[in-house]
């Protein structure tokens, strides 16, 4: 399942400094990389920018050579109806199966669908994918994000 549904997310360490976010996005723009989903987590001093892009390998090398600290992280994505209870169903299945969610973020896809991205502890990924698929949740293949 991981092989089929694992998505490479890039996590980037950022100081809370003016213009830093601009520099990341500019570097990606200059390399013609499209950001498909993103989330920003922050503390008082620093933040972590999480990105799913159309070409993770290229993005990684572009950002690395621009001097950013980054980590490639395995996440997965599910597609739910864009209506009340869509997110709830996914979280319920994970909780019932004792799978802790490290973080999640969402974006509204085309039509009446929303796409949710999940990070769970690495040893739990396989199980999460199993129970979600058995629970009737649509898993999203990486091709949806990549070129």
């Amino acid at each position: 399942m991981i092989r089929k549904y694992g998505i490479k997310q890039l996590s980037i360490f950022l100081e809370n400094r003016k213009g830093r976010l601009l520099e990341v996005t500019e570097a990606l723009k200059d390399a013609s990389i499209n950001i498909r989903a993103l989330a920003l987590a922050e503390s008082a001093e620093f933040g972590i920018l999480r990105l799913v892009v159309n070409n993770p390998e290229k993005a990684r090398s572009v950002l690395s050579s621009s001097g950013f600290t980054l980590k490639e992280q395995d996440v997965f994505a599910v597609e739910v109806p864009d209506e009340p209870g869509g997110f709830y169903n996914v979280v319920r299945i994970l909780t019932e199966n004792d799978i802790n969610v490290d973080y999640t973020y969402a974006f509204v896809g085309g039509g009446k669908k929303a796409v949710l991205i999940f990070k769970v502890p690495s040893e739990m990924v396989e199980k999460a994918l199993d129970v979600l698929s058995q629970g009737g949740i649509t898993l999203v293949e990486p091709m949806f994000f990549y070129d």
Binding site: S11, F13, E15, F46, I48, L70, K119
Partner: protein, 435 residues
């Protein structure tokens, strides 16, 4: 004990030192214009030097003196007697150059054999030498020592961690010579590769030097490899590794029949009594190519002259606490950047880039350590990063006895905001100048 002199009565040792010192003083006075000039300025003739006690009247030699006489200006032999030249890379200014005659190489082998003998290394032992071979004296110094005692040397030098582990296992290495940080790196990679360190390897002793190591790092190495930790101390200006060596009782013995140690007040230059902390100074008394009178190492330590349980009577020096140049005084507490570095290394097993920022908050000094988060230390979670920061602050308080504020920064921030390779920013001085 490789040589009985290491455990000889002190009077016998001091008699030998006095004789050798007189010879060395004669030698440099007559053969090196630099020394003759300095002696003459102080009104000192070689005949005035009769005992080790007279050493304190002689002038100091500094690293700058070596640089000023680059490359061979302080050598006392013609170049056709020099059989080896080593050099330290000069990050600021010219490199320092050291030379050895065949006799000097013999001295070096002798003291390195003594080092190896601290753990009875000899025939049957396989010595895995991961110090860098080249202009740096570490690699070849340990190489000669291991050969001298009859062990089998594997001259692996640095790098290629996985291959090194394979050779250590397959060749049955019993002794590891490396920097402490590389030994920890080896242990970590070995674990990642699925080795069982104590079952797959037979390392019984480790000779660690060339960089400071905290007690935390030492015990981590003992635990990981199941080895006896032997500290190796040396500097190329004196001979390379082999100036002093740890014994199994954890005391660092100075081979003072070759290199006479003193500890001085770094400000006044006055000799301090045993037990007092100050700058370590060495006078070589058996070297030919480049004898050095009262060389200021800038290393801060304490000397003790009580006999050790291992049977040696030669002077014990404490592990170097820091560099005289680097000492900072923060709210009355002495702090060395090396202590900060120890904490960083201890937690992550690698030394991240960091900078120490000193400032005033009202009347109090405020110390911040900015640590670069790189791909190796970056955990993808705000909580994990906050925990790292808190742990670092706690460890600094434990080790340095002062409150330190740790700030996690992006790579190259430090260079960008402070200029290259500057480790310490003392804003207290700048403000003092303004007012």
């Amino acid at each position: 004990m490789w040589n009985p002199i290491e455990g000889a009565p002190r009077e016998e040792l001091e008699k030998l030192q006095a004789k050798r010192l007189r010879d060395t003083v004669e030698r440099v006075y007559h053969l090196v214009p630099f020394y003759k000039k300095k002696f003459d300025e102080l009104g000192i003739k070689p005949a005035h030097i009769n005992s080790v006690n007279d050493l304190k009247n002689l002038p100091f030699t500094t690293k700058q003196d070596l640089r000023d006489h680059y490359p061979f200006g302080l050598f006392t032999v013609p170049m056709d007697q020099v059989v080896r030249i080593h050099s330290s890379s000069g990050t600021t200014g010219k490199p320092t150059v050291v030379g050895y005659t065949r006799h000097d190489m013999g001295v070096w082998k002798e003291v390195m054999a003594r080092t190896m003998s601290m753990m009875n290394v000899g025939p049957g032992d396989v010595v895995h030498n991961a110090y860098g071979y080249g202009l740096f004296t570490g690699g070849l110094g340990f190489h000669y020592g291991a050969e001298e005692v009859g062990a089998a040397v594997v001259p692996s030098s640095g790098g290629f961690t996985k291959r090194q582990l394979l050779l250590m296992k397959d060749f049955g290495a019993t002794v590891l010579c490396s920097t402490p940080s590389f030994a920890l790196h080896l242990a970590e990679v070995a674990k990642d590769e699925g080795y069982d360190l104590k079952k797959d390897f037979k390392i019984r002793a480790g000779f660690f030097g060339a960089e400071p190591a905290s007690e935390g790092l030492r015990s981590a190495l003992r635990d990981a490899w199941g080895l006896v930790y032997i500290e190796a101390y040396g500097l190329s200006e004196i001979i390379g590794p082999g100036v002093a060596s740890g014994c199994p009782y954890g005391n660092l013995h100075v081979f003072e029949d070759h290199f006479i140690p003193e500890v001085i007040d770094t400000e006044t230059g006055e000799v301090l009594p045993d037990g007092q902390e100050g700058e370590l100074v060495f006078t070589t008394v058996t070297k030919q190519a480049l004898p050095i009178i009262r060389y200021r190492t800038k290393d801060i330590t304490v000397l003790h002259r009580e006999p050790c349980e291992c049977g040696r009577t030669i002077t014990v020096m404490e592990s170097v606490k820091g560099r005289a140049d680097d000492m900072l005084i923060v709210n009355g507490v002495n702090v060395f950047p090396s202590q900060v570095e120890h904490v960083l290394t201890k937690l992550e097993g690698i030394t991240p880039n960091y900078v120490i920022v000193l400032d005033k908050k009202g009347v109090l000094d405020k110390l911040e350590v900015w640590v670069e988060v790189d791909d190796r230390t970056f955990a993808d979670g705000i909580g994990a990063l906050e925990t790292l920061k808190t742990r670092l602050q706690q460890e600094m308080l434990n080790d340095l006895y002062i409150n330190v504020r740790v700030k996690l920064v992006e790579p190259k921030t430090l260079e960008r905001s402070m200029g290259k390779a500057k480790r310490i920013i003392d804003k207290r001085e700048a403000e003092g100048l303004k007012s």
